[in-house]
Each structure stands twice: as C-alpha cells, then as structure tokens.
Symmetry: D3
C-alpha cells in the first residue's frame, strides 16, 4: 500500500490487499516460532470439544500475516509506531483465506521530515466476515 511519501495521502483513502490462505503449516510454524502451544491451536481432539469444533489459527499469526500483505516500501516507511484498539473478533480456521481492507483515518504532522498515518485495518476472510480489526500507526517519510 505505502508507495507514496507522507503528504500524498488523504483521509478516507482505501486499499485492498491480495489474499493469503492460512494453512495448517502456518499454524504449526507459528506455534513453534512464538512458543504458544495453546491446545486450541495444536490439539485437534481438544479443539473438537470447544465451541469452535476444530483448531483455530493464533490471532497473532493472522495479524502477522496481515503486516506482510501491507508491503511496506523502504524509503517511505520510517517506523512501525504502534497499534490501537486491536480486537480479535472471529476465529480464522485452517484453510480460510484472509485479505486486508485498509482506510486512512488520520494524518498527523510530526517532525519536519515525517508524518504519522493512522490506518483502520480490517482483516476479512473469504466469507466476508471480519476476523480482526485495529488501528495501525505508521511513521512515514515525506518526499
């Protein structure tokens, strides 16, 4: 999304990412990388007894993959500043395909050379359901 320097964005601008299928391999790798082996993610027998009926992806995995879908551009992005009001709304199951809808909601001047952009990020799956929302804050360079 971020191919333009700060100063060339407008509040209300929207962008939609490519998609990515969340595979069993992603869930297993993320458990191993994060060390989060919560049974709902790695024990199918346990997961079957929950309200979800099967294993679900870690919310942090889905969020992490969404940052890859944003395609940060070197030279433009100065820093990943933070996230506000991140909410895990609905489960992502193995085999679901997610994509991102983003809307620029705020543009703040900072230093002479940088500005802070706030993006409402909705992670949706193929059913149209939103699984995660949050407000990302990125520090961008000016031209």
């Amino acid at each position: 999304m971020f191919y333009k320097p700060f100063g060339q964005y407008e509040v209300g601008e929207i962008w939609t990412s490519f998609g990515r299928t969340i595979t069993e391999s992603d869930v297993v790798s993320f458990a191993g990388l994060s060390g989060d082996f919560f049974p709902l993610h790695v024990d199918e027998e346990y997961a079957r007894t929950t309200q979800f009926g099967r294993r679900i992806a870690h919310g942090m995995l889905v969020l992490s993959i969404s940052t890859g879908l944003l395609h940060f551009e070197p030279g433009i992005i100065a820093a990943f500043y933070g996230i506000d009001h991140l909410r895990f709304i609905a489960p992502t199951f193995i085999g679901d395909t997610i994509h991102l809808n983003t809307t620029i909601t705020e543009l703040q001047d900072r230093k002479e050379s940088q500005g802070l952009v706030t993006i409402k990020q909705d992670i949706l799956k193929q059913t149209g359901e939103t699984v995660i929302t949050g407000n990302l804050k990125l520090l961008l360079n000016r031209a």
Copy 2:
C-alpha cells in the same frame, strides 16, 4: 502467568516471564511466515546504512514471542480479546534476550462465567530497556 481463574486476581499483581533470545533464525523464519521482507529485517547491507546500523527484529515477531512467554493455561483462558495502545519503542537486535514484565491493571466482570483482565505488558531486553509496551486484554473463565 494465568493458572488461576478470574476472581483470584488483584489489580497490581505482577509477574515476570522466563527469557528468550531473539536469533537470526527467528527473524528469517518470521519474514518467511509473515511475508514481511522489509530490508531492515533481511538485508544487512541496507540495514548498515540506517540509524540502527544492523538488522532489527520485526516488532510483530517480538510481540508474538512474548505471547508464547505468557503460557496461557487451557481452561482458564477463554479468549484473547485484544490489545490497546501497543507501542514499538526501541529496536530488538539479533542476539538480544527479551522477557516480559506484566502488571494487572484492570479487572472487569463480563458474563456470569467470565471476566476481562487488562494487563500492562512491558517487553524488556537484557539491557533493562523496554522495547515494546501494550495493554493486553484477556477473557478468563471463573472457577
């Protein structure tokens, strides 16, 4: 940290996690898992030209590893509700060892069977410097 049901926590309770060293392998794996190949994480020649002077770990990688250090207990944790005011404050370099300091800051009744706990989470490295902060919100079951 979460071995007790909701109702047995008090505001102000603190907890410190074990540590984990952030390796080059973690950074490479996270780039591959997330799809985030921003040069600051994967191109040492580029990183050398930045203010950091070398590659830094993805903020989302460090945050993901911190969730593994929390050791969520099945039966106790009902859901990962969200995060507020997440801020990436300082870089984590390859070879840094992080750990978590957590403080319970709020306990909210929800349904009859559940409560919402808010935890101020500080991710520190071996130097004592805080690299990431945020307020995690977890839905816990009552006894």
Copy 3:
C-alpha cells in the same frame, strides 16, 4: 510435570500431559531437520504399498514432541540423563493426536544436591493405543 524438587516425589506418582496433533507439517519439518527422508515418511505413493497404507510419522519426531509435552522446569531439572528400553510399538499417522502418561518408577539418591528419577513414559494416541514406551531418566535438583 516437574515443578517440584527431588525429595518431593514418590514412586507410583502419575501425570498426564496435554495433547498435540501430529501434522503433515511436523513430519515434513522433522524430515528436513533430521535429514531422514525415508520414503515411508515422505513418499505417499511408496507408503501406500506398505502394510501401513499411508505415510507415518518418524518415531523420533513423536518422541521429540513428547519431551516438549513434559514441560521441564528450570531450576528443577539438572540434566536429561538418558532413556532405557525405548520401544516404537505402533505407527503414528498424520492427524493422530498424542499425549503422555508418566509414572515415577524409581528415585535414586546421587550427589548431595541431586537425585535421579526414572519415569515410565507411555505415548498414547487418541484411540488409546500406546505408540511408544520408554524409561526416561532425569537428574533433578533438591530443594
């Protein structure tokens, strides 16, 4: 299992672990990590012609995952001493969920500060069938 120092265990004590589903991703990763690409693990066409009718997990993978399910506690565990009479009894298929049943069978004084505990370990799958057994020997610290 091992949250108590040596001196606080009794012969006959039992413990049951959480479960973990052995995925295709685990089998592929273990082949790559160990370098063991025996066709029964990585060639579905070949595996179909064997008595098993499909790929099976490496015995050493299932054993390795069982050590993760034990949750060794720092401060308590002094060393992984060894294993006796390890036997691979039945195949673990992709999709099977394993868990551990352990029984303390022997407690031996060693140095003043340590003791050696022997644990009969049975790795079972969701069908109740035992897939691997062995006698683990761990060196524990006293209080």
Copy 4:
C-alpha cells in the same frame, strides 16, 4: 546417482530416483524461504479462479527437491556447473509425488582431474506426466 568418479560413466546410462510427495507444508515453506508469495501458490481463493483450479507448487521448489533426490556424493561431485534448457511443462499440485528420471547425454573432458557430465533430467509425477525437464551439468572428479 553419482557414486562413481568421472571416467566410469557412459552416455545413455539411466537412473531413477526415489519419490517425494510435494506437501502444502513444502509450498508454504518455499514461499517463506524464497519470498515468492505469488497468489497462485499461497491464495486458494485466487487459485480457484485460474485454469489450474487450485494452488500449484513453485516450479523452483519442485526443481530444488529434485536436486535433493539426486544424492550428490562428496568426493565425486566437484561443482554444480549449470542447467540448460530448463522448462516448466506442467503444474505440480499439493499432494503430487514426484521422482526423477535421468539419462547421461554427454561426457566432456575438462581438466586432468575433472570431467563435465550432462544429464537430461525429467521430473515426473505419479500420473507419469513430466512436469519439468532440463539438462543439468555437473563437474565430477576422476578417480
């Protein structure tokens, strides 16, 4: 295949490798390792709209796995010289099992201690269909 030094091969010699099943885990790992997240490999919803109807493996993944099936022998192989006329002919789907058919097509003297062997390599899947062909060139040591 290459257990003999240069000087002990003849043009026309053929060899067939063991097989390997191309799993979803391989495709996901290769995307992460190569950084090639082309949607045809990682987005099942997108792939469904193409002529293939589902995700396909990266051609370079299948080619890379074929080099593992060759089992280069230390002492014999001096260098991987190159590949000519590499063609990606047909898709490899997740779950397909590939193997290699190789034929020695040329033997060239080089230095006193080495020779260059050209191998026509056909990568086939379980259906008998060829998915990739190419002419590998390897520098072998003499006895």
Copy 5:
C-alpha cells in the same frame, strides 16, 4: 519488476532488485526443504578442508531467493516458462547479501493474449561479484 503487461517493455530495459542477506538459517532450511545435505553446505569441518574454506549456500537456494526478489505481479505473469544457460559462477557464503540485475534481451509474440520475455539475470553480491547468471523466460499477459 513486472508491473506492466507485455507490449509495454523494450529490449534493453534494466531493473535492479532490493537485496537479501543469505543467512545460515536459509542454508539450513534449504537443506531440509530440498533434502540436499551435501557436506559443503552443512558440515563446517568438511567445508574447511575445501578450496572455499567454509560452508557455501546451495546454488539453487540463491536462485530461488532471486525469484522472490523479482516480485511477480498477478495478472501480468502468465507462467514461468523456463531458464536457459544457467551458470553457477562463484560461491555465495553465509552472510553475503545478494541482489539482482536484470536486462530484457528478447520479446517474442506468442498467442494473441501473451508474449514471451527473456531476461538476462545476474545475481551479484555485495562485493560486486556475479555469483549466478541465466536467461529467464516468462510468459506475460498483454494489457
């Protein structure tokens, strides 16, 4: 590189990619993914006795990473057609950073809707040395 449909390229057009550092983790992962555990890649003691003096990356790993650096655009790329005259010229060591220089050398009309582009690809490392060359052939869609 390929953001434009066939018909909008000219012979002689050049493009330079971002860089990527080839890490030990990449080499280990590629050995595991490909099954190519040739000692020159995975045995430091052996590698020390060779002309290279240390482990080198698999040529196919470096080539695979170069395809990720090309950033194929969905809608534009119809197929990875093949590679001609691929040559592994110089070793890539752990810690080297590679990038791609590409030049369009041929544009061929094919079907009404597609064209075949040939790209001379040079993979260079931070020293300016070329490690791999080859002529990639990609089938592109017209506008």
Copy 6:
C-alpha cells in the same frame, strides 16, 4: 550404512557417517518443533549463568540428526525397533560438528524374513569427544 540385507552383516562391523554442523537454526527449529523451550536451549542470558556458559543443543535434536546420518535404505529397513541405554554424556554447543561411529554388536534371527540388528552408536563431535551413546535396534529384511 544399511545397504545390505540381514544375513550379510557380521558382529564387529563398523561404519562412520558424514558430519553435520549443529547450527543455531537447528536448535531454534527443534525448540519450535518439539515445544521444548527449556531456557538452557533458548535463553542465552540464562545459559551464561550455568556451568555450560552458553546455550546447548537439545540432546534429542542431536540424536534426531544422527538418525538422518544413518541413511536408512528402503527395502532393507523393516522397522526402527528401539533404543537401549541411551545416555546424554556431554553437551553439544551451537557450531559443533557431529558424526556417528557405529559398531554392530548383535545379530538376532527373528521371523523367517527378518532379523534384528543391534548397533552401538557413538555420536562424537569435532573434538573427538563422545556426546551421546546408545544401542539402536533395527529390524532388517533378509535378501
């Protein structure tokens, strides 16, 4: 090692494997695969305070890699029967290179078509020090 059917081995036969360097990436991957994040393996700050002075590889990782170095041959190996008297003797550090020395110590007739071979396995590192020993038992097919 096992390219011959049962009936063609003699007690006392020895064999030495190729080597493999145990990398940080292997240790990190094994922690993630096994779920064993014992601080001695993943926390450099903690490891520095122990008698070892730095992180050590999981014993089960080194043992798993040794099974890959054995190169089991399909058609010959009927089953991995078990291991007796496995002992973890000395630490393997990141960067150590291991190899296997094996000696056939027992040959037992079983069924008409199979025999059980017992192999004393010593895993050594580049210093000549033995890190793990054990008696592997493999069921082999007759010719």
